[in-house]
Symmetry: C2
DNA sequence: GCTTGACCTTACAACGGTGGGAAGCTCCAT
DNA sequence: ATGGAGCTTCCCACCGTTGTAAGGTCAAGC
């Protein structure tokens, strides 16, 4: 099976399959004499595993752990559960943070006339806030990395 | 006021202030003869505006719009409100997606013994799912970009 | 056998936003 | 005059993914 077919069968783009190989998330596969990568069902199986984990928001590093556990027949399910649950916490914290931002913005928007008048509490809030806390005590900021439009799929 | 003082007063790091200048999010400021950037209260005001908008998850491009509206005294508050509300929708969609992931994972974890036995529905789910949909119909994936740990302060 | 087009290969750059560091200059206090 | 803190520019790294360029290969049709 060529990389293109493996990509279709697994849901991971050929581009990303090669990338995952270079960062050693997956092992190099066999090649034809011409240098084409060849994938068998087991390889595709692992790629589907990766696709699913990415869909659930696991980072590449976390996938490394999960793949190791998957391949280890003697792993304790407790190990897997621990990773999953800590990931759940992270997901929920991010979700809460996004909702907090949303609530703040909604509150500001609710007090905005939304007509032609220039008075706007949103702008005023942005412009008139107190100086931020000192760096060491500020909360982490969820910026564009968190909010960037998801492009792949 | 030097860049360092402006950074402290605004909550935007000196590094990022320079970066925002290069991408023309903010205009170049005056310099001393030696080339040091000088910031006045108005500049710091704008930087605080930016800091606040970043905290609320606005992208640099969105900040460009907001800053333009802020500087335009005749802007309609409706414009600002529209940007804010569309941003609210985006935030909520992201939050929902994260919660969906979390729910799926929790469901899987709930059915995992979490003991020494190797059987684990989490891993099994990852390994045995159906082949993903064709590329064109797949949902956007919220990957590491969305979930990356927030590092800045 | 030759052409065409789809597919493969590698290598490099870009995105967004931020941090890190080097090499050199300037300012201020001692 | 010297030291150190702070400034300058410049380049590099991260993450995950996509795009593109320049070339090799395969299979089909003529």
């Amino acid at each position: 099976m060529n990389i293109g077919q493996a990509a279709k069968a697994s849901g991971v783009s050929a581009k990303m399959i090669r990338y995952y190989e270079t960062i050693e998330l997956i092992a190099p596969v066999h090649r034809t004499e011409a240098g084409y990568r060849i994938y068998d069902d087991q390889d595709v199986h692992a790629l589907r595993f990766i696709s699913r984990a990415r869909d659930l928001g696991f980072s590449v590093d976390q996938m490394r752990e999960l793949l190791a556990l998957w391949r280890d027949r003697d792993r304790a399910s407790a190990d897997v559960k621990a990773i999953a649950l800590s990931h759940v916490e992270m997901l929920e914290e991010k979700a809460r943070a996004l909702q907090q931002m949303s609530a703040t913005l909604k509150h500001l928007a609710a007090n905005c006339h939304g007509d032609g008048r220039p008075d706007c509490p949103i702008i005023e809030d942005f412009a008139n806030i107190q100086p931020p806390m000192a760096k060491s005590t500020r909360k982490p900021r969820f910026g564009a990395a968190v909010l960037a439009p998801a492009k792949s799929g």
